[in-house]
Every structure is written in C-alpha cells, then in structure tokens.
Symmetry: C2
Subunit: 409 residues, 2 copies
C-alpha cells in the first residue's frame, strides 16, 4: 500500500488503485462482533474444569431446577451488572434471549402495555435490539446518540408527551456501535425517565461490554444505574443485562439480568412456564473459571491484548488516510467491539458497495438504525475483532480507499 | 411392615398402623420425575470429554451462530425423534422450551390461530403441557387417555366439529403419567387428524421417553409418526420433541425438535429474533458421549438397571397390598418414569392428604388434569426414580397403607 494518505490521491489514482485491489480477491469480513479464535482459546480450560465435582452449595447442578440460576454464579453476575447479588437472575447462553423474554412478558401480561406501544431507540444502536421490537410489533422512535449518550432533552420530552412509549434500549458502556460510554448526567436522567413516562415504562440496560476495556487501568467510568434508579424511585423500570459471551466462549457463556423484586417475581413466574431451569453445570464451570473479581479482570486483560491492537489499527488507518470531516468522522472507543464511521452524508451505501466489490464485507448501511433507515446514509459500523491483524490491515486500507473514492466522486 | 397385605387389615388396625407410621417422621418425595444421583453419575465423564478440541465439521463450536444446532448432533436427534436428520433442530437444555416456542410462535404469527383457540389434552397427561396452554390463553379440552392412547373416536369428532381446536398434546411412548405406549392404529389416526381439523392444526409429539425402556430387549414398539404424517399429507402438522434430559444430565442436556421444511423456516425465523444459537459446545460434548446408536442404547441399559427395580417395586407393592378394583387400579409400564394409580372415585385427595400426614409427598390430586380438575378425584401419579430403593420401599408401604385406610373409611 502506498505511503501517501489515500484521502489525498486524485480520483484517477484512486480508481487505478481500486482496480489493482480488485485483482487481490480479498475475502474479509468486518460485519459482526465475533471474538477471534485466539480470544476463545483463553477460556478453553473450561472443559474439564469441574474435575467430576458437580455439587455447589448443596445443589446438584446436574439435575433439574433452580429457575433463577445457581446461587454461586450470582457474584459473577453482580460484578458485570453492578447490582446486588440478590437481584441477579442467571440464565442460559444469551442475554439477548433474556431481553426478548423481558419485552415479551411485559407485552403479553402487563395490562399497561396493551394497544399500540413504542420504544425509544438511541441511534445508531444495536440491530438485534431493533429486531426484537419489529418482531413484537413495537413502534421504534429514534433518539440521536450523541457524545454523552442518548439526547436526553429529546428523550424526556418524548416520554412526557407520548404515553405509548414503554421502553428505551441502552448500551451504556462502549456502546454498540459507537463505543460511547454514557456520562453521569445522562445515566441519572435515564434513571429518572420512569418518573416522566406512563405506567409500565422500562429501561433495557444492556451492559454487554461492562468489563471490556482496552486498557484495564483506564476504563471509562459508568455511573451506578441501579443505585440511581433506587434513589429515583424507579427500580421497577430498571432491567439490566450482561453475559460472558465475549468473556468465556461466545456461544456457550452465561447470561445475567437484574431487576426489582416485583419485576423478578413477574419474570420468573412467566419464565417458569417454558423452562426447566438454566444449565447449572455450565454456570458452575464459570464459577470455577472466574472465582474472584480479580480473576475476571486478569482474564479481560488478556482479551484486551488481542482487541486493543485491532481497535487501534482501525482508528490509526482512518487517521492516516482520511481527512475529517470532509472524508468522514469516526469514534475512538476505549473499549467494546466497534468503531463507528460517519461517512459524509449520502455516501455510506456507496462505500459499502465499493468495499463489497473488493471482497470486504461490511454491515449494510442502515443496519444500525430502526427499520434499517439511516436517512443521512452515513453510519457504517466497523467490527475488527474477528480478523487477524494482517487481514484487518488489508481490510482497512481497502475501506479507506473506498471512502476516498466515494467522497471524491 | 406387616407381612399381611395392608388391604386386608381392619380399619382399626389400619388406624393403629397409621399412628405408628406417623412417629417414623418419614420425609420422602414421589412427586417429580427427576433422575437419581446414580443415574446422573452415568454421564459424568461429559465434563472434559472434549479434550480441548472444540471444532466439529469445520464449525468452531465456541463462537456464535448455528441457529438450528450443530450438524454433528443431528444424528442423535434423529435416533430419538425417529425422523430424518435433515428435519432436526437441536436446541438448548429443554424440549419444554421448544414446545413453548412452537405454541408461542403459532399463537403470535399464524393468522389461522387468531381469536379463541383450543387444544385437545389427552388426560391424564403432563402438567407442564397444560401450563403452557394456560399461560398462553389456550382453552383445554380433555380427551380420555385409554389403553392404546387418546380416545381417537372422540378426538376425531371434536376436531371435525370445532375448528377452534388447533392442537393436541401427545406423549406417545411410556406416557406421562400412565406409562401407556400409543398403539399403531392410534398413531395412524393421530397422523390423519390434521386432515379433519381446521387450518393450522398441530400435533405436539413429545417423545420424552423414546429410549427409556425398562428392558432394552423388549421395548414397547411405536409406529413411525413422521412417515405416517408424510403419507397422510399432514407433515406441516407434525412437531416432534425429545431431549437428553433423562439420558445425560437433567439440567444440562440437549433438546431436539423436528418438523416440516415449511414449519422449520417459520420456527427458525422467529427463533432467530431471540437467540444467538444454542450452546454448540455442549452439543459437541453429547456427540462425543453418544457417538453411535448402540452407545446410546448401552447407556440407556445402565439407566434401566437403576429405574427398573424402582418401577417394579412400585407395582409389586401395589399388587401385594391392594385388591383391584375395590382398592384402586394401576398401570404396569415397560418404560418411562411413572406409574399411575387410579384410586377409587372420590378418594385421591384423601389419599394424598393421608400420605402427607406420614411425610410422603405426592403430586397433588388433579395435577395430571387440565386446570387441575380431576372430576373423579382418582388419579395419582407415582414417580419412583429419585428416592433410593430402601426409601421407595418405605414410601410405598406408607402409600398402600393410606390407600387402604382411605378406601376403608
């Protein structure tokens, strides 16, 4: 690759380069936030970790039961969720499932959720949150995600005036896809939102990247949403989620949620109709893998060693090759799995198509928006965790080339 | 315990014995079909069985994805379900969850399931099937479970005349709670039921005890429901379920379902909104544990060594102490987890209460019936798998004493 910044080349030179790149027949994928094999290797000792001892706190983990999860795993849940252990429910392998169930049970059984209902969707956001709304017939209202979190002025105005709004999706730390961490004022105002909204309003607090710092010594601080909700008298609105999917093994981790006693009783009552209890053996494996908070932190530092160079490479390539703001803007996350690239208005679709032409797969433009509608055709989510550093290097050169070409045309 | 059959004692002697038994302060539980610790021990080598090798058929089982389950586990599913491998979906740790999802998705998204809908419930039956109906607002219509399965004459008449009937629950082999296996004619008529019913009718074929014979050499034969449904042109009505919950570890097994291509696409589309894919690592563990059909059969023979003496003890005690039909009747299953005791009409509640007075916990009378309503107050489900043989011996003496006393009074 040329040493000269791609963003400074003439359209003609960019086109020549693009043709050269096509002949490379790349096959690179920056679409999903999947851990790499090296990250997964970090937890491989989980198989066999029980050494044939399946009993924990007088519970035979092998048998049926224990709807709210193994007592011993709740500490891990509380470290991730930043709530009391007693509020934690430990589930199966997916916090997404617990979020879906939370929304489903409210929708089916909460009398104040009848008729048309809506959710606030900080945007850009996580596409699978939006899919749950679409699946369950919940109208989505975008709220811009700005530097400190969702635009709270607008969120407050909306819930005050429109009592059909029953929820808001939040990824408060290293947000998917921007990497933004909500600031203290935003968290406090989110905790208070239930006081402005109509009956049955809930905050879905998806803390998927709670301990996923690039630098363990300098994590983004996040205010205590549980305590703030308690202080605001809105604890019945607070639903917090986390999992070990990006800590142990992505498909066989343990998911957690926390909510108030009232909501807990409601959730477990309905969960019990479809469950024989979670996989407690796998929960016990995770107890052994992460016996202490510092064992967890040490493990996450090993993840950071693999993730940090990739996240930094993405930002460095963008810095090197492109000139903000005429060729786009981008975030500089301190954790999580994503960098958001804000292409100049009206160019995101073109960039994604150009990249596809080079064999670099990107999340479709619009995927980070409710109904897939990015009116400004600007947001592109970059997910650098899965490829090798060498592959990523190549993919980012190709990406910058496509941006330069699309914004030059 | 007296050598004399309890059923032949005078009321006065029975009362004296009852008082003596009270002083024993028993604490025995015959309520749930839980495997005993010895049964669970049979699969303990599952932890560590992967020997750090997590890849199967080019799939890294540790990562996200694979909504329909690991390719390699489908053979095990097909052995249990008796369907083609290509029809199998491998899920999480609970077939109950897959049944709930099946009913939920139809209820929410099948246009022909709108308005009031009903299910046929062969009775006595499995309480957790009935709970799903209650939870989702589905009216339950009991159909007597007779020697060869559900009363098909009645079932056919009902679905022909009442188009609000959209489903039927079946446990076709070693039925819960009777132990009855459906005969060939019944299975064929069940496969044809979709031709008589209105649009969207489904058969929930919960083959929970598919390989759970007391004697591997003499299993009850069960007709091929999949093939019969295909021949009848009703494959879109057939939903088959099974799991390894009573094969490997009860709370951390693998659940399976099978259905037609059309229903599969529908199911997976909706499942995908709430799932990151099942725990494929645990599925791979089960591939290693049961690499062949004969490995599975050999494993089940070890279960039978533990279950058979218990099931036989229940029947022997009833035979020894009680005189049918004046003191009740009972089933003689060749597999499964339960014996059903039909107490003389109007005495089941009394018997359960008397047993509780001796410290012997039985499933509440009526639990085997929709809405908990056993109008004849007769059916008591006995679940002998969990206690030790010595405990069970004592519990059955106490039970027979309570029956003799209740029917003498």
């Amino acid at each position: 690759m040329s040493q000269q910044p791609l963003g400074t080349l003439s359209t003609e030179n960019l086109q020549t380069l693009y043709t050269q790149y096509q002949s490379k027949q790349l096959a690179l994928d920056l679409t999903r936030g999947k851990p790499s094999a090296k990250q997964l290797n970090l937890a491989d000792r989980i198989d066999g970790i029980l050494e044939s001892s399946f009993v924990a706190s007088n519970t035979d983990t092998r048998n049926y039961g224990g709807l709210d999860g193994l007592a011993d795993i709740k500490a891990l849940g509380s470290w991730l969720l930043d709530t009391p252990e007693s509020a934690v429910i430990a589930g199966g392998n997916s916090s997404l499932t617990m979020m879906y169930q939370t929304v489903l049970f409210q929708k089916l059984f909460n009398p104040s959720w009848q008729g048309e209902i809506s959710f606030l969707c900080p945007t850009p956001g996580y596409d699978r949150h939006f899919s749950i709304c679409e699946e369950l017939g919940i109208k989505m209202i975008p709220v811009p995600l700005v530097a400190g979190g969702p635009d709270m002025e607008l969120a407050e105005e909306l819930v005050s005036n429109d009592k059909s709004i029953k929820g808001i999706w939040c990824v408060p730390k290293y947000q998917n896809p921007t990497g933004v961490t909500f600031d203290d004022e935003t968290v406090a105002r989110l905790a208070n939102l239930g006081n402005l909204a109509g009956d049955g309003f809930i905050v879905l607090w998806d803390n998927a990247y709670a301990v996923h710092h690039l630098d363990n010594k300098h994590p983004d601080p996040l205010a205590d949403f549980w305590a703030l909700s308690e202080a605001a008298g809105t604890l019945d609105s607070a639903f917090l989620f986390a999992s070990t999917s990006k800590i142990s093994h992505a498909g066989s981790g343990v998911a957690f949620m926390a909510c108030s006693d009232t909501q807990r009783a409601f959730f477990l009552k309905h969960l019990g109709m479809s469950s024989i209890g979670p996989d407690k053996v796998n929960q016990l494996r995770h107890v052994k893998l992460f016996p202490t908070k510092s064992a967890l932190a040490n493990h996450m530092a090993l993840h950071a060693e693999l993730i940090k160079p990739r996240m930094e490479l993405v930002v460095r390539k963008l810095d090197e090759h492109l000139k903000a703001p005429s060729q786009g803007e981008w975030t500089r996350p301190n954790g999580g799995y994503f960098v958001t690239f804000y292409a100049p208005q009206g160019t995101a679709t073109k960039i994604v198509a150009l990249a596809a032409g080079l064999g670099v797969k990107l999340t479709p433009a619009g995927a980070t928006h409710p109904y897939g509608n990015d009116d400004s055709d600007s947001v592109i989510r970059l997910a650098p965790s899965f490829p090798s550093v060498a592959e990523l290097d190549e993919a980012m050169d190709a990406f910058c080339l496509c941006v330069a070409l699309a914004t030059a045309q």
